[in-house]
Amino acid sequence: MSETTETYPTPGLEPPLITGNQTFHTVSDKICRIAERKVTRLWYVAISISGALTALLVVSIVYLFFTGIGIWGVNNPVGWGFAIINFVFWVGIGHAGTLISAILFLLRQRWRTSINRFAEAMTLMAVTCALIFPGIHVGRVWVVYFMFPVPNQMQVWPNFRSPLLWDVFAVGTYFLVSLLFWYTGLIPDLATMRDRAKTKIRKFVLGLFAVGWRGSNRQWKHYELAYLILAGISTPLVLSVHSVVSTDFAVSILPGWHSTIFPPYFVAGAIFSGFAMVMTLAVIVRKIFRLENFITIRHLETMNKIMLLTGMMVGYSYVIEFFMAWYSGNIYEAFTFITRATGPYAWAYWIMFCCNVIIPQIFWVRKWRRSIPVMFVASILINVGMWFERFVIVITSLANDFLPASWAYYKPTFWDISTLVGSFGLFFTLFLLFLRYIPLIAIAEVKGVLPQADPHYHKTSGTEETHAE
């Protein structure tokens, strides 16, 4: 079914979530086959590139460990460089996955079933990339265990009043809960793959991970409630994790960071950038694996609407920051924001502003909201913009602080850039492995949203005798 033939939905009638007259069997078959068929050359080419970039990440980290953080462009006063920018960027990416899997689940947004599996996978991979940076940026990596409450030879404990430590716990929790959520959702689908497996090894490995699932309703009962609880506790996580990340900045006294708008501003930005990344991946995955019937134009359009909304929240925050800088009467605050827009980093500020505030406005137009090339390019630009947002926040506030004598211009080195590029390599390597081995759409959930899955569904032929209660 091509996009052009789809007409406006009938008013009052919900258009079908899954198109192409699927049966329960065709759903399992189409999705499982992606992870069962022989590896294509395209996949090998893709993983070679991303694998090479991952190797670059490893080399950068090894060199960093042997030499120290002097290989980066960090200086005095800009003590937080790419490591923190990348950390915040990657954590933010993850938030869309959790929003899709948790908040949209609680809101009974049934369209989420087509995209939640790979959005959740994306969360895990993005948080994996994010977790690398706090680990490597500490300078003395051999005492990295000081971040955790581990009894040690000095008998001193971490400072639990520090937002930096809250961060360790918030992001660590986020990773664990996302992993549990993702795996719980996978159990019935792994059982589907187990029952289709031909070779002994596949049967054994999939059987192990499917934990002996047999689709019994006495099990579904507990499963569904466990899933609901996971959704319920992940929902505050969507809001809390990036709020805690923002307190790394907001609790300091630096102009441009010391601001109460930071938590909601960071959360909106995180969801915004995360949806942009889901969109980039969804467009590629849908095209390569011909999943147009599962990820329909309606799914993509809905995501574009969410991007439009969160993009405007981000734009509102940019404007409010300026307003507060003026309204507070604080000269340092006012100076910081004027310098952001006109000073040495104005180029970064305006890249950020154009990509995050102006670009999403194209989604007001229905035709563009439903055009694959337009949304693909826009989603990439939004991610560029969101990376620059973190650059602007981290760098501009540090580079020009209270005392002009200590100002400096921050320039990234080769190793800064190689670590950033390498983290993308790791992200895509993990994602490609996921596509290769795991059903990328939640099979059981998609079956559950087909019209014939309703126990009170009437076949139009009228041969089935069902009684609505």
Partner: protein, 179 residues
């Protein structure tokens, strides 16, 4: 199919879809069977009521572990900051509980998440390597099969009567499952 003298697990009956499974579940329940189960590729809305099942206790387990997790993390922060090695940091009190809220919350979330997932697995007696139902070649529940199983240790179990009963409520296919 096993001989009539063998120990059997129960009877498995195939139904043609969620609608007929739903109605079959009600009839099995009304006939007084207790050790029976319905199998479907996805959870069917209203099935718990049709089978007469009680609500899952997972919520209580998760709630309890959330309190324990949050309380544990809070206690850890209090003990390390105020008892074991008190340090004055930024002039704040040793027991500055406001600053302990984010990590307490993290502890509650971790407790609830692990309780929900592990509790679900334990109550469902999972993971397990095998189950008698997998002895059937036709048990394609993970694809598009809908089944009712009645276990042999049910009080009212009688092999021939159960087979006849399942056929009478619309089973397409009935199979005896060996232990």
């Amino acid at each position: 199919m096993p001989n009539s003298g063998d120990k059997i697990y129960g009877i498995l009956a195939r139904f043609d879809g969620p609608q007929s499974l739903y109605h079959a579940a009600k009839k099995v329940r009304d006939a007084g069977y207790e050790k029976f189960d319905c199998h479907s590729p996805f959870p069917i809305h209203g099935m718990d009521e049709a089978m007469g099942l009680k609500r899952s206790p997972i919520g209580w387990i998760a709630g309890l572990l959330a309190i324990l997790g949050g309380g544990g993390f809070f206690a850890l922060q209090w003990w390390t900051s105020a008892v074991d090695y008190p340090l004055v940091i930024s002039g704040k009190p040793y027991f500055s509980f406001q600053a302990f809220v984010p990590i307490t919350f993290a502890g509650a979330v971790i407790g609830a998440a692990f309780a929900a997932v592990l509790g679900m697995l334990i109550i469902n007696q999972l993971p397990r390597l095998h189950h008698p139902l997998f002895n059937s070649d036709k048990f394609n529940v993970s694809d598009d099969g809908f089944f009712v199983s009645i276990e042999s240790d049910d009080r009212r179990f009688d092999r021939e009567k159960v087979i006849a009963f399942l056929k009478s409520i619309g089973a397409e296919e009935v199979e005896v499952i060996s232990q």
